[in-house]
Amino acid sequence: MFQIFYMFILLAFGLFSIGVAGISASRHLIIMILSIEIILVGSSLMAISIYSYVSGGEVLALLFAIWSIAAIEVIALVAFYRYVAKLQVSLDVTRLAKYREDK
């Protein structure tokens, strides 16, 4: 019998896989950070699926932690993006090695 619980778990796995593949396949710094948001979306979906299955209170703490991490990450991302844009530095992560502290 088709169980919808499996589908939510598989979707969470899929979002996690797309996020990890995005980190490994992209060279854009902003896209790499935003792919962590996709991973967090998959994690929150997994947490809410298990929460609706077991109705346990412990999963809620994980869910709020995921939301906090996602919000803090976007705030840090925007601050970093503004800073990098002001310096006119390339967002290609393979070129970031040129910008060392001793230069």
């Binding site: 996690f16 995005g22 992209s26 902003i30 935003l34 929150s44 503004r82």
Partner: protein, 166 residues
């Protein structure tokens, strides 16, 4: 299987939107599609009959974080460079998904097959979802307000960029 059509549609849309995050060139477009992923994720929460958590997800991620992301990204949109290798994206995601799904659903100890999952999660069917929306005007109005606020923020940012004010 037919009663799960909303879940299947939302699943397809969320996968397409999350892949488009890596394929688009402008960072503002990426932010828009990330917002769509957040919104569809909130709708999946609603499908799982977790209304309060769906609204929290909607307010935090779509109402707060995404608007902040719009403003932050659009105010310094100097980079149109996008470099994502499509072949590694597909290969790595499919390989990782296969490994995770096989590990979870195989007959190995710790897999899901067996007696661990012996009942289904309560999910709204199509008719139940429509009836719950029509009976609860609060949820519909809150979703409408948040989506309108996001669109308003996006429109204001685009207008200010057009006027060279940002």
């Amino acid at each position: 299987m037919m009663i799960y059509i909303p879940v299947l549609v939302i699943t397809a849309l969320i996968i397409i939107a999350s892949v488009l995050v890596f394929l688009l060139r402008d960072v503002l477009h990426v932010a828009v599609f990330l917002t769509i992923v957040f919104l569809l994720n909130s709708l999946l929460f609603l499908e799982l009959q977790q209304t309060i958590l769906a609204l929290i997800q909607l307010f935090i991620m779509v109402g707060g974080v995404s608007i902040y992301l719009f403003v932050g990204v659009a105010s310094a949109s100097y980079s149109k460079f996008r470099y994502t290798n499509k072949i590694p994206l597909v290969v790595v995601s499919l390989a990782l998904f296969s490994v995770m799904a096989y590990g979870a659903y195989s007959n190995s100890p710790g897999g899901f097959s067996g007696s661990q999952i012996n009942s289904t999660v309560n999910v709204y069917s199509s008719s139940q979802l429509v009836s719950s929306f029509s009976s609860s005007y609060t949820i519909v109005s809150l979703y409408t307000v948040v989506i309108m606020l996001s669109l308003l923020a996006l429109g204001a940012i685009l207008l200010l960029n057009k006027l060279k004010a940002m």
